[in-house]
């Protein structure tokens, strides 16, 4: 047996949170000095997790899922609708930020060597992110959108033949995933924001994110809420009140059809 016999039974009780008083104090003192008993405690907690399986019963009601997702929407950790580049990175942590940096390189430089390098970086970042499963799920979704074979790519350019402002939209219809990166955007008047629109093959334009560019004229929209399965004919961008609009206000400042 790998544990000290005198503490063996108390370890099981401690794993269950059932140990009290002097017994608990004595065991905790021992644990501070005994690696093998610490390992045994981990094992016993694993045994506890197995015990949980005996309780398997009905799934939680659907409202519980809705409640959680609603609560998440209200949490500051991840903006619910639109993430500008800087706040997104600050909020999602350095792992996602670094992943986005690698992804941005992939997107803007159509260079095989860089693609290879970027993928290697993403792979390394994924390895790091394995300790942070939630962040990883988000980063993976972005990578999958960028590399999906059925992703439709849209390039938006200025309609006034001004070449500098540019937007790239990568959209996966089945997953309703959308990543939009823009650069060289014009500074906006106060109380105004840009709004991205998904132009479906039929029906009215769908709002796909309200955003303001940063000081460098760059902005990012990551996975705004969109209905699944909508086929996009094009994406377009307008200037709207900063709270956004339900229908686009003319003129369209940028637009682009699928490539």
């Amino acid at each position: 047996m790998s544990v000290h016999e005198q503490f063996a039974e108390d370890l099981a009780l401690h794993a269950l949170g059932s140990l009290e008083g002097n017994d608990l104090a004595a065991l905790e003192q021992h644990l501070a000095e005994c690696a093998s008993c610490c390992r045994e405690l981990e094992q016993l907690r694993g045994d506890m997790a197995l015990m949980a399986l005996s309780a398997a019963g009905p799934n939680p009601p659907r409202r519980a899922r809705r409640r959680l997702l609603d609560a998440i929407t209200l949490e500051p950790r991840r903006p619910a609708r639109v993430a500008l580049r800087r706040p997104l990175w600050a909020a999602a942590g350095w792992v996602c930020a670094a992943a986005l940096a690698a992804i941005t390189v992939l997107l803007w430089r159509d260079n095989a060597a860089l693609v290879q390098e970027g993928r290697r970086e993403i792979s390394e970042l994924r390895s790091l992110a394995s300790q942070k499963e939630v962040e990883l799920a988000e980063a993976q979704r972005i990578v999958e959108t960028l590399t999906a074979s059925n992703a439709a790519h849209f390039t938006l350019t200025s309609v006034k033949a001004h070449p500098q402002p540019q937007g790239k939209a990568i959209y996966v219809r089945d997953r309703a995933s959308l990543i939009f990166l823009a650069s060289n955007l014009r500074k906006l008047p106060p109380q105004k924001a840009y709004e991205l629109w998904l132009i479906p093959t039929s029906g009215a334009p769908l709002p796909a994110g309200v955003f303001k560019p940063d000081a460098h004229g760059s902005a990012t929209v990551i996975n705004p809420p969109l209905p699944a399965g909508v086929e996009a004919k094009a994406f377009a961008m307008t200037i709207e009140p900063e709270q956004g609009s339900s229908t686009p206000t003319m003129p369209i400042v940028m637009q682009g059809a699928g490539e």
Binding site: E9, S18, L19, R45, A49, P58, R63, I72
Partner: protein, 156 residues
């Protein structure tokens, strides 16, 4: 987060429901556990074991805290769980579930009862001894032997 919830919510909810016996309270534990992960994803470190097992232990501990009307006693950042089966997949989980139920069914009734009182009711060994009229040492031995019996099922 939705994917994480879809994968593990049934484990978290089931254990909370079994402990608390009331769906509303179990939903509260479910919400609390996943919100903690959402607010601080770094709270789970993969070196502390697999996520499903860790969530099950955290959910059980939170439910017991709720049952006993006490403040959370477990610092979740320190909980390390070492367990063989990966509880992420439905198939693995179902297989593990059958093994656990079978192991519990094969235990002597008094041993199973002591283990369930400690696990699902959060009773201390002295409370179990008082409830069953058995010596403290016997209760301790039964609980430990019960946990070992579960472990053994996954080592063979």
């Amino acid at each position: 987060m939705a994917a994480l919830y879809d994968r593990y919510s049934s484990v978290v909810y089931s254990v909370a429901l079994r402990v608390l016996g009331e769906t509303g309270a179990a939903e509260d534990v479910l919400q609390e556990v996943f919100m903690q992960v959402w607010r601080n994803p770094g709270v789970f470190d993969s070196s502390r074991g697999n996520l499903g097992a860790w969530l099950a232990v955290i959910a059980r501990n939170r439910a017991i805290d709720g049952l006993r009307k006490r403040r959370p006693e477990t610092d979740i950042e320190t909980v390390i769980v070492s367990v063989e089966p990966d509880l992420a997949g439905n198939t693995e989980r179902s297989r593990a579930m059958e093994k656990v139920r079978s192991a519990l069914g094969a235990m002597p009734a008094l041993q199973r009862s002591a283990l369930e009182m400690a696990y699902f009711e959060g009773l201390s060994h002295s409370e179990i001894a008082a409830k069953t009229g058995e010596p403290l040492g016997t209760v301790k031995t039964r609980i430990r032997a019960g946990l070992f019996a579960l472990r053994k099922v996954f080592q063979t």
